[in-house]
Amino acid sequence: MASLKTSCRVLQTSRHLPVFNPRAFYRSYDRPQKGHEKVPSWTIEKHRDSPLNATRVESERLRHAAPTEFRYIFPEFLPHPDWKKRDRVAEKLQRRDMLRRRLVLDIPEFYVGSILGVTVADQHVPSKQSRFVGICIHRDGHGLRANFTLRNHIDGQGVEIKYDLYNPTLQNIEVLKLEKRLDEELFYLRDAPATHSTITFDRKPETLPLGATVPVNMKKIPLNPPPWTQRWEKREDLKGIDLPELPEKRMRKLSQIVKPWEKYDLMKEYRKNISEEEQNEIFKEVVQHHTRVEKKRHQERLKRMT
């Protein structure tokens, strides 16, 4: 009996206990509590503005920041801009593999419009390797899948070969002429006279003076009369083509096809690019690797000299 009474008392007391209300509990967090006076905003602002702090932040930033040209020299380190196609773990692992490959093979700086010579291991050739020389007309892909396309005109035939940049059978990539063109892709060379994509295989490499900026070839390429592989008159974004005179009907139709507003589409531009913060994070890894490899290569060069 006594036990029942006590249990009743317990029940009674429990009824008087305050019920835990999570909403009220977390609301109280936002409110200023007694004894927890806010730090006055002017002290925070003063701290932010103080020159001591500024230099510290600046030095921190400089220590980790990659040079801005890295995003053009190593474009394949940037991930796919579409977030649906991204996998951050895979990207990180791929980046590690890419840097390890770069320790073995010297992948030089080159751009669309540069002239390259590529040597590839080929088991079916008696000399066990084959070489192709051409002008780089396209760079594509992200991470380990990065690739570039070379074009050349051999024996009256236009030939294009796509190479994966991190293909283990690639033995040597040689830059014969380092330059940029006015456009990011030169597919219009397919519809241009053969002279614009003819490169001899025994071409000697041209070197730029140390520290010189990469020159831009301002040449405008005259196209053959149509039919073409694409409707080049439609492509307003291409600066390096010189269109021939087209029939009046075709030019009339053009006004229905062109989308002149696209170059003002900020969202389109935004979707194509990776944010700067993310780029810095990626190129931090590349910078560390780059400095280490450069130092090592420099020492090797000195060894060879002595």
Partner: protein, 149 residues
């Protein structure tokens, strides 16, 4: 076709989005550059038949592809119609998009062969893809080719 589908189809016809028999207004075979039945090819050896096909203005056409897909790729055997004759040929270069390390050419190239798979010409004037070297049955064609890429 359900009643709803029929309604939307009729609306699409009136709006000019499709035709009454639901055919497309564009062709996919041209951008794919596939070598199928009736596609025209460029004969690249120095045989008389090949030379005549170039000069006469009537290019060789594929009449049959000797594989199950019906689409000829690099190294495939095809039957050609040229000069009112039926001749066999081997595709040695495609305009089509290729995998990495395999060359893509500006024209669809073919080399004529006879019944014993020996080439009709004595010389091939264009570069040949290096990947064809691993095909033993093409050894006679590779022997007369002047350059590989």
């Amino acid at each position: 076709m359900s009643a709803v589908a029929r309604y939307f189809h009729s609306r699409a016809v009136t709006l000019g989005l499709c035709t009454r028999n639901n055919t497309r207004h564009f062709s996919t075979s041209l951008p794919l550059c596939e070598l199928r039945h009736m596609s025209r090819v460029n004969v690249v050896d120095n045989s008389d038949l090949g030379k005549n096909a170039k000069t006469s203005g009537k290019p060789a056409r594929i009449v049959h592809v000797y594989n199950k897909q019906g689409v000829a790729r690099i190294g495939d055997k095809v039957l050609l119609a040229l000069e009112k004759q039926k001749v066999k040929g081997i595709i040695v270069g495609c305009k089509q998009k290729q995998k990495h390390m395999i060359p893509k050419f500006d024209s669809n190239n073919v080399v004529l062969i006879d019944e014993e798979d020996t080439p009709m010409g004595s010389r091939i004037n264009v570069p040949i893809p290096s990947v064809l070297r691993k095909k033993e049955e093409l050894a006679k064609i590779l022997a007369i080719s002047s350059r590989f890429v």
